[in-house]
Every structure is written in structure tokens, then in C-alpha cells.
Symmetry: C2
Subunit: 334 residues, 2 copies
């Protein structure tokens, strides 16, 4: 059995109240001598206050629940990492769950997190598999932030997807492309929808029509990108450029084009999204849109932790992107 506060009190010859006060390290006035005795006892017994007991009395678990679709996409761990970084700096810890985009799994995760009385909840991903039990959230006083998903009920942190899509569109138009294929994420992904919307806006502004045969669904995986690209290239008027809603899909696209004996960027230009570490190491190096997933996480935690205690209205943050021009779009000849 680990040492408890009573053990420390006995060892130091003081009351548990006193131990509690010095162990918590607040600014409660304590006699210097008393404090030294307690600190010594803590040290000797290797006392570490029980987090569950603390949580129970303080009505704050100091746990942040994170629910994400699936940690196999590097984007989610990176956002989570951002959350973790600010959480630990403030004495919180991260409890994370995967949903696999399965509503039942999502529901079970939320339930478990609520049972643990997480102080706050961060929901990552634009899917709609996660439905939050508003009543319970309110009863528990659980703060919520959604990362990458639109809603008015809760605070949100989102990427400037439409603007990014528009920027990619303009870039490709400037390079002379008129038929631009879009490899979308899975159905219902708002991030993907917004990127497409941005692309279309750019095309429209340039007076170029965008055909529906130039959109194909991937599912954010390499395999999805591969298949979608093949479908795109079999359109009646195949695109001369492809914009994939994720780098992983762009890698699939690269393979598909290669397998069809098409050169990138000479025959088909390619642009991805995310700027994952290996984008730079693909050949041709991938032109893509850089978004700091880590930053999404830290911003979200800022919203969450600053708001704790004093109830406020939902805040909505947008994180800007940055287009990274490398070789695959053809703007830079190798």
C-alpha cells in the first residue's frame, strides 16, 4: 500500500489538514518549520496524493477526454499531441478513445469518459458519428470543444478549409489547368466538403465550370486515393490536375497515375493536403497545404481550460493554412 495523507501526518506529527495544504502547494499560510517537517515526511514516505481522492473532493478529475475517429491517420495523433502538451502543462491528463467512425463505439466512449467525469471533452474530426448527450454534459459541467467540425452548441476550432481550397484552385488555374479533379475524403466529411467548395469558388471566379465527374470519393486512405484517381482519369474529359483532400490520398493518386503511365507533374499535376512529414520526401515532392494539427490541439485546449469554471458562450476559432509549393504541381520544374 502506498503512503496516504494520514501516514504523512503521523510521520510529520501534524494534522492531515496541514499535510494537505503543503502537499497541494497553494499559498495557504503555513509555518516555515511545519512546512519543512511535512516536506521531509513526504519525501521520506515517497508520498504521492491519490488522484482519485483529490478528484472526488475537488470535483475535478483533471482528465481531458479526447475522442477521435482513428489514430492510424497521423493527423489525429498530432492534434491529440497538441492537446496533451497544454494539458500536462496545466496539470491535466489525456484520456483518449477511438471511434472508428462507428456511432456505437462513439457512444460507448463518451459514456465511459463521462463516467470518469472528465473535466472537458475534445472531439476531433468532421464526421458525425459522435453525438453528445447535451443534458448530461450540462449536469456534469463538462466543457466541450469540437475540432474540425461545425456546430453552434459548442466551441470549435477549425481549419480554414474553404480558403485553402480556393488557394489551391487559383494556383492550379494560374498554371493553366481548367479540368481539376478532386479526390474527396469519406462521405460526410465537412473538411473535405469545404475544401471542394473553395476549389469551386476559385473555378467559378475564373469562369470555369466544374463538372461533377471530376469529384471522386476516397476515404482519406492511400487505397481510397488510388481508386478515386483511376475513376477520375476515366472521365470523359480526364482532369489535367488533381487536388486530393489529404496527403495519404495523394500518395495513392501518385501510385495510380504512375501505374497508368502518367507522369506527375508533366501529364497530371497533383496537390495534397496536410503536409505530413513524408510529403517532402516523395518524388516528385508533394505540393500540399500545411496545417498545424498540433496547433489545432493547443488552441482547443486554450478554449477549454480558460473557460473552466466561469461558464461562457461557445467560441469559434479558425486556424489558417499555408500552401507549400513543391514539385508535384508543376510550378517548380525539377
Amino acid at each position: 500500500m502506498p503512503a496516504t495523507i494520514r501516514d504523512v501526518a503521523a510521520e510529520a506529527g501534524v494534522s492531515v489538514a496541514t499535510v494537505s495544504r503543503v502537499a497541494s502547494g497553494g499559498d495557504y499560510p503555513i509555518g516555515a518549520e511545519t512546512k519543512a517537517k511535512v516536506l521531509a515526511a513526504i519525501e521520506r514516505l515517497n508520498y504521492r496524493p491519490n488522484g482519485m481522492a483529490k478528484g472526488l473532493t475537488q470535483r475535478n478529475s483533471r482528465l481531458i477526454g479526447v475522442v477521435a475517429p482513428d489514430m492510424s491517420n497521423p493527423y489525429y495523433p498530432e492534434v491529440t499531441r497538441g492537446i496533451e502538451d497544454v494539458a500536462t502543462a496545466r496539470g491535466y491528463q489525456v484520456l483518449s478513445c477511438s471511434t472508428d467512425r462507428d456511432p456505437a463505439r462513439a457512444r460507448a466512449s463518451i459514456d465511459a469518459l463521462l463516467a470518469k467525469r472528465v473535466t472537458a471533452l475534445a472531439v476531433i474530426g468532421g464526421g458525425d458519428e459522435v453525438v453528445l448527450p447535451d443534458g448530461d454534459l450540462e449536469a456534469y459541467g463538462t466543457e466541450v470543444v469540437m475540432i474540425g467540425r461545425a456546430t453552434r452548441r459548442f466551441s470549435t476550432v477549425r481549419v480554414e478549409n474553404a480558403e485553402a481550397g480556393q488557394e489551391v484552385g487559383r494556383h492550379l488555374l494560374a498554371l493553366g489547368h481548367r479540368r481539376i479533379g478532386f479526390v474527396a475524403g469519406h462521405r460526410g466529411s465537412s473538411a473535405s466538403d469545404e475544401r471542394l467548395r473553395g476549389l469551386r469558388r476559385a473555378l467559378k471566379d475564373a469562369g470555369v465550370e466544374h463538372r461533377s465527374e471530376h469529384v471522386a470519393n476516397g476515404d482519406y486512405t492511400e487505397a481510397g486515393g488510388y481508386d478515386a484517381t483511376r475513376r477520375l482519369m476515366h472521365a470523359s474529359a480526364p482532369p489535367s490536375a488533381i487536388f486530393a483532400a489529404s496527403d495519404r490520398m495523394a500518395i495513392g493518386a501518385l501510385a495510380a497515375l504512375r501505374d497508368m503511365q502518367l507522369r506527375v507533374p508533366d501529364d497530371v499535376a497533383l496537390v495534397g493536403f496536410d503536409d505530413i512529414p513524408m510529403a517532402e520526401y516523395l518524388r516528385p515532392a508533394l505540393t500540399t497545404v500545411s496545417v498545424s494539427a498540433h496547433r489545432l490541439g493547443t488552441e482547443a485546449m486554450g478554449l477549454l481550460l480558460d473557460g473552466t469554471g466561469r461558464p461562457r458562450r461557445p467560441q469559434h476559432l479558425r486556424v489558417r493554412t499555408r500552401m507549400v509549393i513543391r514539385e508535384s504541381c508543376g510550378a517548380r520544374r525539377t
Copy 2:
């Protein structure tokens, strides 16, 4: 305030003991009528037992602590996912921390996890930045498993690295290679060391000498693989084949070779390690060694959860690998 067990007891007109027994769902004998009343009250009040209070009384937080170097390498989230899958199935949840291979961060994480009284601890990664306070672990009764790191004190789950390395070596030898470069992980990575040892054993068995100039350190990243490969190719007798200790480094190697105008596999054969999803979508498709990171996680949890309660001696599991032959090694012509 959420409903407590007392609220439910009052609502159902029974004692809190009774509510506790039906809410916990054990096989404690309860009158059918009483049970129905309680269940109805639970439903009406939307009662969810407070996990902290449960943990405190049962002396079991039902939390599994996971500490990994860094979730940006897809391997770690995948192992963590394996842990999560069996954890949630058994009513546990995962508390995860990143160390960035920094001993100070690692120490702080372990401390925080211990304070939360995690039921068990899974340490992922072969680095040695994590040092466990044995005394405390014993006092807390915290079960430990190390994933990918050798030790006798705790249970371990490890990949058959040496065997895999040997298999890669034999394969490359059979293809006629005699100078095989090795792109290692960061210094002190036991996984990387073991893979190299396996490679050397294969070479030795074939009577081929392996020069130290044919080993270069990457750090498991694309950039590290890129630089290491360039160094390798500047050896007095450049290798005709390269074995990278991770797929991410292999991707860096691919770029480096490409940039040096060397064709893969015609000029230089290449083999990676991990079989990440995109390995199949690289061109040439990457020959690599498949290891189920997910499986490492599930096996580790099996060791952990089965052992809880009855103290046993450390168990040591090995997970086999499978070599996946694609194009980059040159065995299959495209």
C-alpha cells in the same frame, strides 16, 4: 450536478447499498421487483456511477497508463490502439503520455500516471529514457509491461527483430547482394540493434564480411533516412542494397537515391521495416517487414490484465514478423 447514488436510492425508495449492487451488475442476489425499480430510477435520473468514487473504494482506477516516445511515428498510435481495444473491452481506459525521448518528460509522465493510480502501465519503445521507480510500483501494485524493450524485471512483448533482420539479409544475399547498407534508428534503439544483428548473422553465415561503413544512423524519420543513405552511398565501396530499420527512413532513402540519379531496385535494392499502409503505394512498391503493431498492444494487455490481482513472475512474449516482398528489393520485376 449529476445524479448520485443517493438520488437514485431516494427515487427508487431503496438503500444506496441496493442501488450499488444493481448498478454494478454483478451476480449479487436482488429481488426482481426491487431491481426493476432501481433500474427504472437509474434510467429516469440518467445515473452514471462516478468513476473516481468507484476507483477510490475499489482501489482500482481502471486506467491503463501508456507512455510512448512520440505519437508522430505511426507505430506508436497503432500499438496504443491495440492496447485501447482490449482495455475498453474489459472496462478500462487509456491514459497516454508522450516523452519525446526526454528523460525529464518521461519522469513527469510516470509520476502523473502513478498519482492517478493507474492499474497498469505499458511502456512502448526501445529507448531508455523511461526509468521506472520500482519501489513505488510495488507499493502501488502497478503491473508493468514493456513493449519493444528488453528487461527481466517486467513482462515484455517484443518483435522478433533479429530473425526478421536475418531473413532480410538472406533474401538480399539470394538476390546476389554482398554489400548491404543498414540505415539504423536512433542511437540506443534496441529494435534497430537487433535487426542489424540479424542482418549480420545472415551475412556471416554466408561468409560475407559486413563493414562498419555500411551502417549509418537515421533516427526513424524520413530526414534521417535521407541523410544516412547519402552517407552510405559515399562509402568507399557503396552498397548495392539498403536495409532501413523503418519504412519512414526507407522513404527518405528512396528520395536520396532518386536525387542521386540511382534507380531502385536496378541500381540499389531497398527494404524497409514496419509495412505502414503507404508502403504498398510507393513506386517502386516497398519491400518491407510486416509487424502487427496492433497485435503488440493486444498481447501486452493480455499479459497485464490476466495478471492483475495474483502476482506472477514477468512473462516474455515475442511477436513474429512477416516479410512482404514487393518491388523495391528487385525480386519482382515490374
